[in-house]
Symmetry: C2
Subunit: 378 residues, 2 copies
């Protein structure tokens, strides 16, 4: 078959395998994308597999090519994302592919990174290789939706999570909220955190719940814990300040707010415990996410109260909802609900979601939804 | 095999068929239970089937026996509920069974009606028949949960239905609520109404939504439409007052409230349109349901606002929840939610539900839950 054109469908099973390999590093590659690759010899036999495990470690392609060795000559590489053509922390993958004697490159997705953006495929075509792209492009774009979103918008992909009763309450009128959901749902939230680079709350959640916000060891290092606090009116003692557990960043509105004595005391006390403070030009979700993108976050988790959650939604900082619904009725006209005001006056203005069917987590039901329709690139 | 003892399991498929027959009349037999029956000849061949179609029409047993004719002699009747032994609108079924020459009676559930309550089975045993009871008793009790509940408590089984956004709102802050759920979910609600004997709202829902509250022809006659109104502050013109569509009952607090001129006018205007008024000793969910039980309702549907829904829950007038969750975010601190105050101060006080997995209705998700654990009788 070598040398003959092959129908596009024949690449689908290999691309599916490459996507599986890429998924092995889910939540650990930021700011890089997830990438998986398989190498076939000239008789279409699998001779190499690889995936990108973590930023700073080799890309998927060199690993798969190394495993293939001389069998790669005249063969095919199937890779979930366009090979890079620039020198980063590792050398360009295009050159590794050419050096290995590969004759055909099959790609799912063009890399939206402006340093690549089709340049990798062009380099390979120019060198005389057959290049096929767009195989399982939607699946690959969905797998890398956080990376793609961050590259396109300069902000990480936002997931907003809450746990509520069937009547839509996230706490009793007196503020009690432990626990609305059961142990399996709470364990799932630890897993969700392990897929995220940062977990964000507001000052109110620190004051009310004193949360830990870790993945309970599912991720190493733990995600960055972030408090967005305009006032810096934060308790001096909180689980979040223990930096041996996980790093914590307090993002705030800047020195203008810190001139009163209590705030200066707070800052000193937090800094003494190793908490990092970050001044934002504007103390809002959008500016926080730009800062977190700058720090290499692809995906962040909002675990905040209704006011901050609404602001995050309104500033397009939430792309996905994860709502745990507990089989309970709490009631209470003044009980906390997932969101605050959104300013809608007609039903055609409201946020529309693409909801997946519910998933059972013990006695609770998990509803997952995308806020804006997901648009595949290319 | 005739004359030999048969293992209980052998009756299960026949009882399942009898339950299927009973279900054919779902929502149409009140105040009577659902009942299905099959007759087997002495060689265990199916020779007759019957079900109770509507109060006043024959019970399940005579229909099945009539179909069997002489083949019933020496045979078995498998019936979902204990045969009655009293003269009601139709003669006692025990006597029909004896007259047909049946030798064995297999029953799922003892009839909780105090006029029967084991007396039917005793009559058959005394006449020398083999009587086996308790086959698929849980399934039969679940099928007749509304009837059993009404007989035991003197109140119909209550279903509380609402449609909300994923953030737990049943309206926008300005009150707009049409439509939160989509056409398939609204069609499902029409089906749900067709399974109920009455649909209940408060005065606030009449004023805000001017609802129709019919099954859109799925049930004939339409369920009774009930307005529970302490104040009788009701609009003079409303879809509910058109009695050619369906009957309407306005339950109110009595003449003490009607001495002011506007209320007297309202009463006269409603009565002129054929609306029935019913004074309650106390204008609350419990007294309303006792009145509706007296009128023969086995199952009622609460489609009311948060205040009345909470009162109904607190007075143990809600046994089942049907919550439609739309993939939307409405927000709004003052937006309406499914329930009002329930007075809870700790998580171990809240209403606990047995929730079934979500069901897709178009883009919406239907969550169905039982409020109190369902206890099978016997």
């Amino acid at each position: 078959m070598a040398g003959l054109a092959t129908p596009e469908q024949c690449w689908i099973p290999w691309m599916r395998r490459a996507l599986q390999l890429a998924a092995l590093a889910e939540g650990r590659t930021s700011p890089n994308p997830l990438v998986g690759a398989v190498v076939l010899d000239s008789d279409f036999r699998l001779v190499g597999e690889g995936f990108h495990a973590r930023a700073g470690l080799p890309h998927a392609e060199p690993g798969a090519l190394k495993q293939a060795g001389k069998a790669a000559e005249g063969g095919t590489i199937v890779v979930t994302l366009e090979p890079c053509c620039h020198q980063g922390r590792t050398p360009p993958c295009t050159e590794a592919i050419l050096a290995a004697g590969i004759q055909r490159v099959v790609v799912a997705l063009t890399d939206p990174d402006p340093r690549v953006a089709g340049g990798g495929l062009q380099r390979l075509r120019d060198a005389g290789l057959e290049v096929i792209s767009g195989i399982l492009a939607s699946e690959a774009a969905y797998q890398n939706r956080a990376f793609v979103h961050r590259v396109r918008t300069g902000r990480p992909w936002g997931v907003l999570k809450w746990a509520m009763s069937l009547d839509g309450r996230t706490a009793l009128p007196n503020g009690a909220s432990q626990w609305i959901s059961g142990p399996p749902a709470r364990a799932w939230v630890h897993q969700l955190r392990s897929q995220c680079d940062a977990v964000i709350v507001g000052g109110g959640t620190v004051r009310a719940d004193d949360p830990l916000l870790t993945s309970r060891g599912h991720r190493s290092p733990e995600p960055l814990r972030v408090v967005l606090s305009r006032s810096l009116d934060l308790p001096l003692s909180a689980q979040l300040w223990r930096q041996t557990t996980a790093p914590t960043l307090v993002a705030h509105a800047g020195s203008g707010n810190m001139e009163t004595a209590p705030q200066a005391n707070h800052v000193a006390a937090l800094q003494a415990q190793g908490v990092e403070l970050q001044k934002l030009d504007h103390c809002d979700p959008e500016h926080l996410l730009r800062e977190l993108a700058r720090r290499g976050c692809n995906r962040v988790l909002w675990e905040c109260g209704p006011g901050l959650a609404s602001a995050a939604l309104q500033q397009d900082c939430v792309q996905e909802i994860a709502a745990v619904i507990a089989p309970k009725l709490l009631g209470g006209e003044l009980a906390r609900t997932p969101l605050g005001d959104l300013g809608f006056t007609a039903m055609d203005q409201v946020f529309s979601l693409n909801c997946e069917p519910g998933l059972s987590l013990g006695q609770d039901i998990l509803m997952q939804a995308q806020v804006s329709a997901f648009a595949a690139p290319n």
